[in-house]
């Protein structure tokens, strides 16, 4: 008999990601049985009880670098020992790499990047954007467990009740046998801000920043003033003003922040594809006819080189 929801809770060296709290609270609210948090590579997680975990299970091992084989084996082990009806994970690079492989191994169905989840009788049904957000579709998974990855910031971050959950090791041993690949080097991130896909605030610049210096002196400081992650249009990236990893859109990152500030971005359909689900969109553009204004919550028709520094000052004042 399968039952309950297993939530893969990601962390950085024992510090849980916000997506872990978000998914646990959602899992709890579905009322589909017990909620179990799965923690890979750390022997902790009692605080996850405050967000809805009834219990926490851990798998020991080195998961600091993502290794497909170890990840798949660990989640497989957890599924085999707990028989959950549903497995949820954030749509992180790890889960998007590992869960399809696991689905193929066990013959399971997987729904990618859902932005809504609801209980439907005994089952959990997802809803997800397709065609880069130009359409939505309901995704029904008939296998048990049903696997879902959830786009970060879809449900909002709950506050902890302060409860604590029991933590127990699953006693699995991973590693060795399933070493498909090795990570021989990791290139550190160029900044310490949140990854675009998980960021709650993003400030993006377009081609009209004119140079790398323009991006570094206009977009980066404005982003830093509100703890936002800098992003860019493809035209900006292709011109070499911002790194590829900053690109938002169809062939870049899909983002879902609560605040997205588009500085000098026209709002081409391929850019919108990556950011249209942002909760609040601010557009600054000299052209009142720019398509971005049709999607903006707030718009300013003006020169971003004039707006940028003033906006930074005002934001700093508002946050201090």
């Amino acid at each position: 008999m399968s039952n309950g929801i297993l939530v893969i809770c990601e962390h950085d060296g024992g510090v849980f990601k916000k997506t872990a709290f978000e998914l646990l609270a959602k899992a709890k609210s579905l009322g589909s049985g017990s909620v179990t948090a799965l923690v890979l590579g750390a022997d902790s997680g009692a605080e996850l009880g405050g967000y809805g975990a009834d219990k926490v299970v851990t798998v020991a091992g080195d998961f600091a670098s993502h290794l497909t084989g170890a990840y798949v084996k660990a989640v497989q082990g957890a599924i085999e020992s707990l028989s959950p009806a549903v497995v949820l994970a954030a749509a992180s690079s790890e889960a998007k790499d590992g869960l399809p492989r696991l689905a193929a191994r066990l013959g399971l169905g997987l729904g990618t990047e859902v932005t809504e989840l609801r209980a439907d009788g005994g089952a959990v049904v997802g809803r997800r954007p397709v065609y880069a957000g130009k359409a939505f579709v309901e995704v029904q998974v008939s296998s048990s467990p049903a696997l879902f990855t959830v786009r970060p910031n879809s449900f909002g971050i709950p506050t902890s009740t302060g409860a604590s959950a029991p933590v127990a090791s699953l006693g699995l041993s991973v590693g060795g046998g399933d070493a498909l690949t090795s990570v021989v080097d990791t290139e550190a991130p160029s900044s310490t801000v949140a990854d675009l896909t998980e960021a709650e605030r993003i400030v993006s610049g377009g081609r009209s920043v004119k140079s790398q210096d323009g991006f570094d002196s206009l977009i980066r400081p404005l982003a830093a003033s509100i703890g936002a992650t800098p992003g860019a249009s493809r035209a900006c990236v292709d011109a070499g003003f911002a790194p590829h990893s900053a690109q938002v859109g169809q062939t870049g990152k899909t983002v879902n922040p609560s605040l997205y500030v588009a500085m000098g971005i026209s709002g081409a359909i391929q850019h919108l594809a990556g950011m249209r689900t942002s909760k609040i969109i601010v557009a600054v553009n000299t052209d009142a006819e720019a398509p971005i204004f049709q999607h903006a919550t707030y718009g300013i028709v003006a020169d971003m080189f004039e707006v940028g520094p003033l906006l930074k000052q005002e934001l700093e004042a508002a946050l201090s």
Binding site: T68, P100, T181, T297, A318
Partner: protein
């Protein structure tokens, strides 16, 4: 070595997507189709490996109807040597795992030693097929790769990992690699390639030719079904501020703090 490139046709990235009347899917009647942009990076990487004489042959693998033939010919025109189209009434309604089973069977039949795919098809946006193909074949995978090096029987691949970290991943061939933007700049077809591609035969394999159990693919084998298609929720009309720049900026920050509550 033979490289297999998984190539899918998708609506052009600037297409308007209309839901058909019943909400059962997308109205595809006047969509302009293109090669999935990530598959263009996969194809280009394969062609570069052939140019460098690391690969002997590049073969395109497509699960799709006869309307995808034009995209396959585009790939042949750019320099792919061969292509197979995988098509059978039994394939209709496949989920990602069904598609992966078909592609894995084709890769085996063609003796492929490296599979290059896109990180994601920009129609269903699933990002599932490449890792599934790897598992079905028992090969290592590296997904979302923007740089690849081959050295004899081993590979080195660079991928964006979580938190802005870039991992350098090694393993041995055969393997599946899924391509991200940044890997290369896709070439255009030359006239001579276009002429040659016109004459190429594109064999079509069905379930029997691939040795697939029809119950394992298509709607019969699918664990995932997509229903109730709808347009995205409309955004309420936005507000364009007016006045001098300093006052607009002040008003914006007030709105962000007090109305939108995002500060």
């Amino acid at each position: 070595m033979i490289i297999g490139v998984c190539l899918k046709q998708v609506p052009a990235s600037d297409s308007r997507i209309k839901i058909d009347g019943s909400g059962a899917g997308v109205d595809a009647s006047d969509l302009k189709m293109e090669i999935n942009p990530y598959d263009e990076f996969a194809l280009e990487e394969a062609l570069k490996l052939k140019d460098a004489k690391v690969a002997k042959k590049v073969i395109v693998l497509t699960v799709g109807g006869s309307d995808s033939e034009q995209r396959i010919r585009d790939a042949l025109a750019r320099g792919a040597d061969d292509a197979v189209r995988l098509d059978d009434a039994a394939f209709a309604g496949s989920d990602s795992l069904g598609i992966a089973r078909i592609l894995a069977a084709a890769a085996q039949k063609e003796g492929v030693g490296l599979i290059l795919a896109g990180k994601q098809a920009i129609d269903d946006d699933n990002s599932q097929v490449p890792a599934m193909v790897a598992e079905l074949l028992g090969w290592p995978q590296v997904t979302v790769v923007d740089k690849l090096e081959l050295d004899g029987g081993s590979f080195k691949a660079w991928r964006q990992s979580g938190g802005g970290v870039r991992d350098v991943v090694t393993g041995s061939l055969p393997a599946v690699i899924s391509a991200d933007k940044g890997m290369n700049t896709p070439r255009y077809a030359k006239l001579r390639g276009i002429m040659m591609a016109k004459r190429k035969k594109i064999p079509v394999y069905d379930a029997a030719a691939l040795g697939l159990d029809p119950a394992s693919v298509g709607a019969a084998g699918a664990k995932v079904t997509q229903v109730n298609w709808s347009e995205p929720p409309a955004r309420p009309p936005g507000r364009i501020l007016s006045g001098e720049v300093p006052s607009m900026v002040k008003e914006l920050v007030t709105l962000l703090r007090d109305e939108a509550k995002v500060l």
